[in-house]
């Protein structure tokens, strides 16, 4: 204690201020630049809390006395009628307070995010997938609830089920949501007249999010109709609406709070609604706090994943490998309800051209209803599945023409006028894919390494190598145009400390850090002066999901708008108070220059407060330029594109199908990076997650429709030893968004995920060597060791 007294700063003039204000004041001592401005490597604002275990996640919030715990009762049939349901043993189990079924939903028994009324909280007469919630049991402890849930007696009458798109088509299951067609030119005629044609098919598996923190919601009842729900959702506003909907109350009765998520990746966009709804219904029914945190197995069984696709394609091309016509049918395993399958399957079509120009094109989506969990958003949101089809087509052409696939890619890039239009009629104005690819080709030494790979394989050994360089072009904006808006709330307190809220949620991506940097830059204060607290529907209303890579684009602009409003008021105040022109007021590092005088920021704020200046502002932003007419398949759905390129080299054991990624080189475009360290983290993480999707992450349902890969013991995401042995990641330092985005940066969450397609094509390249590259290997994703070996064996058999 004595040490602290000795260390205390001697600030005689400010005796009446609390010590924290003194600290802030000391921070204002003259420095040329602020700490943590934009374009700097400011570390994640929670980094120290992460490493010390002090970061508070939803399950760490202290539970008020009387807190109850809920557990879902899930169906054990893929498709069946519920003949009878006996929950008496559940209710009689030790510690049980009661059960909830559809009959206990006071409002509407539906949480369909698109208003299609096809997703009940609790199934009633019929279950449509294995793992569908039928009831919830509420008990004194989580353990008691889990044990009780097992005691339900449910009689089913089985109905036929269809688990995948092919089976669904054969069974006439239909679509869960209207399909999309994109058309430009006359694909059929151009296909007919093309010198060469290939028709093929690729099946692309889904992916579980495997966020380390599973789903969780913790509802605390309030007076009247009020309820507060702490949750780990990417979409607080939607959770608010859904809770209001199931409770039959107005949205103003419901508050959703999110401090941080232990990972989201799209899996907590709509899927958390179920848990928020159940916790809130129970909390209001028993007037006690209720928490629901499913076990990992239930989490993976009862919540949606990335869509699997079966893609049938046909491509017509000339001798040089240039595409003349392309047609594709994209059938997706959507699951039993629509959820986000409409926009996901739309986005698959939007990315079915990747970075290439299709002179004539016809693309159809087929959002198939299946008796599986309803699939949902996952990083890339259909884009990866569309893009991998484009890259497969390039590979097919390259093998057919005996060309290097990179050469074929270059010949088909979107280009100048006449070759710059996408299948959805958006003109691509910012195409930097060719430059990125050229630079990466050089820096990764692609040509020499390709030759070395071929020389190695020519020796005919067991271990074969493969290399591939693939580009990414990813459209940025929600295709639901109204989602492209954001709000922020900024307070400056009279001590000069700053409190910031925005509509985005923190799931690890460092969004709060970036937004703080934006405000720091705008007000020219150190970033650590700005505190961003939990996201709450009370502070910023009508927010969009933190999704579609849009978090910093939208919320950064909204926060900047709020900061500018206050800055304007402060500038006017300074001009008046110091009797100078507004042009002579400048915000410099932790101070304000007014004419010849420099006032420390905290002092200045105190003066402004004393002069009764409004030090709070709500900011707002909406993305300009975008429009989309789904019916005609035309418009500008994307404000801009983010680009990247990756070159991967693999080794494959042709006796077992095992493989390693020996090296990956990445050059990725984030525009002018708000925070290069965080962006690099997104690129590295997305690449490895994308590798997982295309390699070892396999979802496997048994014949009864039960998902058997429902926990990390059976579902294998990449480990440290799976990452590339050599991993060179660069951000394109020269890139700057040509659109007026926040500080000319670009979105980074999703685009780098698809860089991992280079790993898949490198595996394919290694496999092709066993038949001397005469044929494009038939390889579906994920390319598990089994699929790789079987592809090798097929080619050997054919040779």
């Amino acid at each position: 204690m004595t040490d602290k007294i000795v260390d205390a700063p001697v600030e005689t003039q400010k005796r009446t201020d609390p010590p924290v204000a003194q600290k802030l004041l000391r921070a204002d001592q003259a420095r040329d630049t602020i700490r943590g401005g934009v374009h700097t490597d400011l570390r994640h604002d929670s980094a120290i809390k992460h490493v010390t275990g002090r970061a508070e996640y939803c399950d760490d919030i202290p539970e008020p006395a009387g807190t109850l715990h809920a557990c879902l009762g899930l169906s054990s049939r893929a498709h069946a009628l519920i003949r009878a349901m006996d929950l008496s043993a559940v209710e009689a189990a030790p510690g049980v307070i009661g059960v909830l079924t559809a009959a206990d939903v006071p409002g509407v028994n539906d949480i369909s995010p698109t208003g299609r009324d096809d997703e009940p909280v609790f199934a009633t007469e019929r279950v449509e997938f294995w793992g569908q919630p039928i009831f919830a049991v509420i008990a004194e402890t989580r353990d008691a609830a889990r044990r009780a849930a097992l005691l339900a007696g449910i009689e089913y009458e089985n109905l036929p089920h269809a688990l995948d798109p092919d089976a669904a088509r054969a069974a006439g299951m239909g679509y869960v949501t209207p399909p999309l067609t994109l058309r430009r030119g006359d694909a059929a005629a151009a296909m007919q007249s093309a010198p060469h044609r290939i028709a093929g098919r690729i099946a692309v598996g889904g992916q579980d999010h495997m966020y380390l923190e599973g789903h969780i919601a913790f509802a605390i009842p309030g007076e009247d109709e009020d309820v507060i729900v702490h949750s780990s959702t990417q979409h607080p506003t939607e959770a608010q609406h859904m809770v209001a909907h199931v409770l039959g109350v107005a949205s103003n009765a419901v508050t959703i709070n999110v401090r941080r998520m232990g990972g989201g990746f799209g899996g907590k966009e709509t899927q958390m609604n179920l848990f928020c709804a159940v916790a809130a219904i129970a909390a209001k029914k028993w007037n006690r706090p209720v928490k629901i945190r499913p076990d990992r197995d239930d989490d993976m069984t009862a919540t949606g994943k990335r869509h699997d696709f079966v893609i049938d394609y046909e491509v017509g091309f000339d001798d040089s490998g240039r595409i003349l016509a392309m047609s594709g049918d994209f059938a997706a395993r959507c699951g039993y309800s629509s959820d986000l399958s409409g926009p996901v399957t739309d986005r698959a079509l939007f990315h079915a051209d990747n970075a290439y120009f299709y002179p004539h094109v016809l693309l159809n989506s087929h959002p198939m209803k299946t008796n599986t969990v309803s699939n949902t958003a996952f990083r890339g949101f259909g884009g990866p599945q569309g893009m991998i089809a484009a890259e497969r087509i390039i590979e097919e052409i390259a093998y057919h023409r005996g060309l290097d696939s990179l050469e074929v890619r270059k010949r088909n890039f979107l280009g100048d006028a006449g070759r710059d239009v996408t299948p959805y009629h958006q003109t691509v104005e910012d195409n930097i894919a060719p430059r990125l690819v050229d630079e990466l080709e050089q820096s990764a030494d692609y040509r020499a390494r390709l030759a070395a790979v071929k020389a190695w394989n020519a020796k005919g050994g067991v271990i074969r190598k493969g290399i591939a360089l693939t580009p990414v072009k990813f459209g940025i904006s929600f295709t639901a145009t109204w989602y492209n808006q954001a709000g922020a709330l900024l307070h400056i307190y009279s001590d000069g400390s700053i409190h910031l809220n925005h509509g985005g949620t923190e799931m690890g991506q460092g969004l709060n850090t970036k937004i703080a940097q934006v405000v720091a830059d705008e007000l020219q204060v150190d970033a650590d002066r700005i505190k961003i607290t939990k996201t709450t529907t009370e502070k910023v209303p009508n927010t969009s999901a933190t999704a579609a890579s849009s978090g910093s684009d939208l919320n950064g602009m909204a926060a900047q708008d709020a900061a500018r409003q206050i800055k304007e008021r402060l500038t006017a105040f300074a001009a008046e108070r110091w009797q100078t022109a507004p042009g002579n007021v400048r915000f410099v590092a932790n101070a304000v220059e007014i004419g010849a005088e420099t006032v420390p920021f905290a002092d200045f704020i105190r003066e402004a407060y004393m002069a009764r200046i409004h030090l709070s502002a709500a900011g707002f932003y909406k993305t300009p330029k975008i429009h989309w007419d789904r019916a005609s398949g035309k418009g500008r759905p994307f404000y801009y594109y983010a680009y990247g390129a990756a070159c991967s080299e693999v080794s494959v054991d042709t006796l077992t199908g095992e493989y390693r990624v020996e090296r990956a080189d990445i050059l990725h475009d984030v525009g002018r990076s708000l925070n290069p360290a965080l962006d690099r983290g997104q690129v590295e993480g997305a690449f490895v997650q994308g590798m997982g999707w295309l390699t070892t992450e396999e979802l496997w349902w048994d014949a009864n429709g039960r998902l058997r890969t429902h926990a990390p013991s059976t579902y294998k995401i990449p480990l440290a030893s799976d990452r590339p042995r050599i991993f060179n990641v660069e951000l394109a330092s020269w890139s700057e968004n040509r659109e007026k985005t926040i500080k000319r940066s670009k979105a980074v969450g999703e685009p780098p995920f698809m860089l991992a397609i280079s790993v898949f094509e490198a595996l394919s390249h290694a496999v092709a060597s066993v038949a001397d590259y005469r044929e494009c290997p038939r390889l579906d994703a994920p390319a598990t060791p089994e699929r790789v070996l079987m592809a090798v064996e097929r080619l050997r058999g054919a040779g």
Partner: protein, 485 residues
């Protein structure tokens, strides 16, 4: 001596004594719910993600050793006389970061942060043992930790940097080692411990002899060593397994003895604890052993448990069968010895009577003329269950195969020898044709299943191809036939 009815342990800096402990209470729930030490996270509750990693220290032959474990499947009774160290114990006074934490912060090693405490604890354990690890050693140390955000690259960078930020000799677990050892020694009173809570009964025998007696006295007891499998019966299937007899604490079962003709490994020796002796005598086992689960599970799980539970996909039986291992089964004072392969009768059925337990595994010392190989094929390289596990031991004298022992896992309802292939090889000249002919016999002995790990077709094809790999690996100067580590 009367039974003790409590357990005592150290939790970070505090003494804990508990009297009402269920056999199935987990350390993770105790930490998070009872003690509100919420830095330790639940990611999967099955020992696969590592978010709940804590260190557990225990006296081994008088020396205090800390190992990383999964708190989610660590059952509370097993903590008697242990020191439990959680993430909350790492930071210094006034929140000063530990070197491992500092390195993680500086290298942007966390994104969502949920896996981070687990990574910090695993890296902490590594740093104490090996403050300047290679990249390969880091990867092995974090095989049991999943991260979904970072792609691991920054975590590896942090692990490489941690050595420069501080020395383990100044770490609290080293500076207070003697003090903690004394406190733990005082908790060991060599008494039988019987814990009750509700209907649950957990017994910690006082010695191996006491274990033999307890098992005879307690019919139907569940025997638990590392709880890496039984832990899931508890957390996933909510099974009532009482009464439970724990044996992991018994020093008498944790001995490794090397005699003139054999290596004897006590049934309670963990995977990690047997690493040195096995790889010293059987170098081919080194890469194989490093691919059993992750470090946390290798610290907890035992070879005895891996054998006893009779899984057809356990990692250790195939290589041990190929090595000609025997197991010693004990009931009361009587013992019998079985060839390991004879223990596995059918799926879920082993040759173990009620009251009987595996006391030791005995492996004959290697014969200089025998060529060995152990292969594990899995969807993911590390911390995965094998789709096919294969082990070969061919005694070759004068170019002729005198004896062949070949065992497979994942190919049948039990770990099983490839008897037809062995017969096809015995007495033949060792050449590629012989291996090919032997591989062709596999369908006589095996009809593998299709499941989420692999199809029957793939399992059979890989099993056959491994004969070729074995052959190629014996050819000096040949091109590599296995992926680099």
């Amino acid at each position: 001596m009367t039974d003790r009815t409590t357990i005592g342990f150290l939790l970070n800096g505090k003494d804990v004594t508990l009297d009402r402990v269920a056999a199935t209470d987990t350390l993770l729930d105790f930490l998070r719910i009872e003690r509100r030490l919420t830095g330790t996270k639940e990611g999967c509750a099955e020992g696969d993600c590592g978010a709940c990693t804590v260190l557990v220290g225990r006296l081994r032959n008088g020396a205090l050793r800390y190992e990383p474990v999964n708190a989610c499947i660590r059952l509370m009774p097993t903590l008697d006389a242990c020191h439990v160290v959680t993430i909350e114990y790492l930071s210094g006074p006034e929140g000063r970061l530990h070197p491992v934490q500092q390195a993680m912060v500086e290298h942007h090693g966390s994104q969502c942060g949920f896996c981070t405490p687990g990574f910090v604890m695993a890296l902490y354990a590594l740093w104490m043992e090996n403050p300047d690890p290679t990249e390969a050693e880091i990867e092995t140390a974090i095989q049991g930790n999943l991260c979904r955000c970072t792609g691991y690259a920054p975590i590896i960078r942090a692990a490489r940097a941690m050595t420069a930020l501080g020395s383990p000799t100044e770490d609290v677990l080293n500076t207070e080692r003697d003090l903690v050892a004394a406190r733990l020694a005082a908790l060991e009173d060599r008494r039988r411990v019987v814990l009750r809570k509700g209907d649950s009964r957990a017994i910690l025998p006082a010695s191996v002899d006491d274990l033999a007696q307890v098992l005879v006295e307690t019919p139907g007891a569940t025997l638990v060593a590392g709880a890496t499998d039984v832990g899931l019966w508890v957390t996933k299937f909510l099974r009532d397994i009482s009464p439970v007899v724990f044996l992991g604490h018994l020093e008498g079962l944790r001995r490794v003895e090397v005699t003139e003709d054999s290596i004897k490994i006590g049934a309670g020796v963990s995977y990690g604890g047997s690493h040195r002796v096995l790889t010293e005598h059987f170098p081919h086992m080194a890469p194989f052993w490093d691919r059993i689960a992750g470090w946390q599970i290798r610290s907890m799980g035992t070879i005895g448990g891996n054998i006893a539970n009779g899984s057809p996909i356990g990692d250790t039986p195939p290589p041990l069968i190929a090595l000609g291992a025997e197991i010693v089964l004990r009931r009361g004072e009587s013992r019998r010895t079985l060839p390991l392969e004879a223990y596995f009768l059918d799926y879920g059925k082993q040759d173990r009577a009620d009251g009987e337990f595996i006391e030791a595994i005995r492996i004959p010392r290697p014969d200089p003329n025998t060529r060995h190989a152990a292969y594990k094929i899995s969807k993911r390289r590390d911390e995965d269950i094998s789709s096919v596990c294969a082990a070969f031991a061919l005694r070759i004298e004068g170019g002729r195969i005198e004896e062949a022992r070949i065992a497979f896992g994942g190919m049948a309802a039990t770990p099983k020898r490839a008897t037809a292939a062995e017969a096809a090889l015995s007495g033949r000249e060792f050449d590629e044709a012989a291996m090919r002919d032997a591989a062709a016999t596999l369908p006589q002995d095996f009809t593998p299943l299709s499941d989420w790990r692999a199809s029957a077709e793939y399992r059979m094809r890989v099993a056959q191809n491994l004969f070729q790999r074995f052959w190629l690996e014996t050819q000096d100067g040949a091109a590599p036939v296995r992926l680099s580590a």
